[in-house]
Amino acid sequence: MHSDAAEVKKTIRTYLMVGAALFVGTVITVAANQIHFAVPLAITAALVIASIKGSMVAAVFMHLSHEKRWIYGSLVLTVVFFIVLMMLPVLTTADHIGTPIHAPSALSGAEGGHEGH
């Protein structure tokens, strides 16, 4: 961490520049939204800009650009579980448990079996 006063003074300039860049990023996001792109393009643009802004906050304000490996280790684990969490919607749509199977042969066989009882 920056314990040296001279180094802290140098990073203050970086903090202010990143703050200004975040303001500009927000203006670009809203301006892009006013243009009314196609939905997929609008979503991509907004999320890409948000990711860049988020990375700047994490790297500079939260000092992740120069942290200890224990912090990186815990964050890598978090990212892995976060990706699994984000994949849950995909797993949900791929989940067929409890969904009726519409194979014609299977249906006719099952119906025939029920008639017998």
């Binding site: 961490m1 920056h2 314990s3 006063a5 802290v8 003074k9 990073t11 203050i12 903090y15 202010l16 703050g19 975040l22 303001f23 927000t26 996001t29 809203v30 939204n33 609008a42 979503i43 907004a46 999320l47 800009i49 948000a50 802004k53 988020g54 906050v57 994490a58 304000f61 939260m62 200890k68 490996r69 224990w70 912090i71 815990s74 964050l75 684990l77 978090t78 579980f81 976060f82 969490l85 984000m86 849950l88 919607p89 949900t92 749509t93």
Partner: protein
């Protein structure tokens, strides 16, 4: 009993426990908000139609500026302590606290406008998602304000007796506050623009 490694770094991790602790807490927060974002994706992709333009983009943009500004003042509060300038530190921390308050006031007006138009969480899936996500984020803002109020009030005495520990507390508060800003950076486009 003295709690070990709250100022000095542990030899094995190279970190003081306060910092490792706040990062582990933030990791759990990532999963909390991640669950809500994941739920949003499920609900949105499964919806026949999704409202667009329901929220006031300009108010949301103003709140984004306010939170980014508060992140800058927060990191400056920590940097001022590292430069041994307690007066400036207090000014920046008060600035962060005030900006957080302005964010909540804006949010109040936004909620009030929806409520007067009968747009409650039960009105639509979109509004249920909106109130849940922004409400939880708002609670985090309130939590941060409580901590800042303590560090501006009774907690500030520690600067005279144990300045390094106080500095670590400000750093941990800052990490939390930047995370709250980070969440809003994603909430704003997801709820207001898309």
């Amino acid at each position: 009993m003295e709690i070990p490694y709250i100022v000095d770094a542990r030899p094995d991790t190279g970190l003081h426990n306060c910092k490792l602790g706040i990062w582990l807490f933030l990791a759990s927060e990532v999963m909390l908000f991640g669950a809500l974002f994941s739920t949003y994706i499920i609900l949105r992709t499964g919806a026949v139609e999704w409202p667009f333009g329901e929220l006031n983009v300009w108010l949301g943009m103003a709140n984004t500026f306010i939170l980014i500004g508060s992140s800058v003042t927060m990191v400056m509060a920590w940097a001022s302590l590292k430069l041994n300038d307690f007066g400036k530190h207090r000014l920046y921390l008060i600035g962060t606290f005030v900006l957080a308050g302005i964010f909540l006031v804006n949010k109040y007006f936004e909620y009030a406008d929806h409520v007067t138009r009968g747009e409650l969480p039960s009105h639509s899936t979109f509004l249920a998602v909106y109130y849940t996500m922004t409400g939880l984020h708002g609670l985090h803002i309130v939590g941060g304000m409580v901590v800042m109020a303590y560090l501006l009030g009774p907690g500030a005495k520690m600067w005279k007796t144990r300045p390094d520990q106080f500095s670590n507390r400000i750093e941990a508060t800052g990490l939390y506050w930047h995370f709250v800003d980070l969440v809003w950076i994603f909430l704003f486009p997801v709820l207001y623009l898309l």
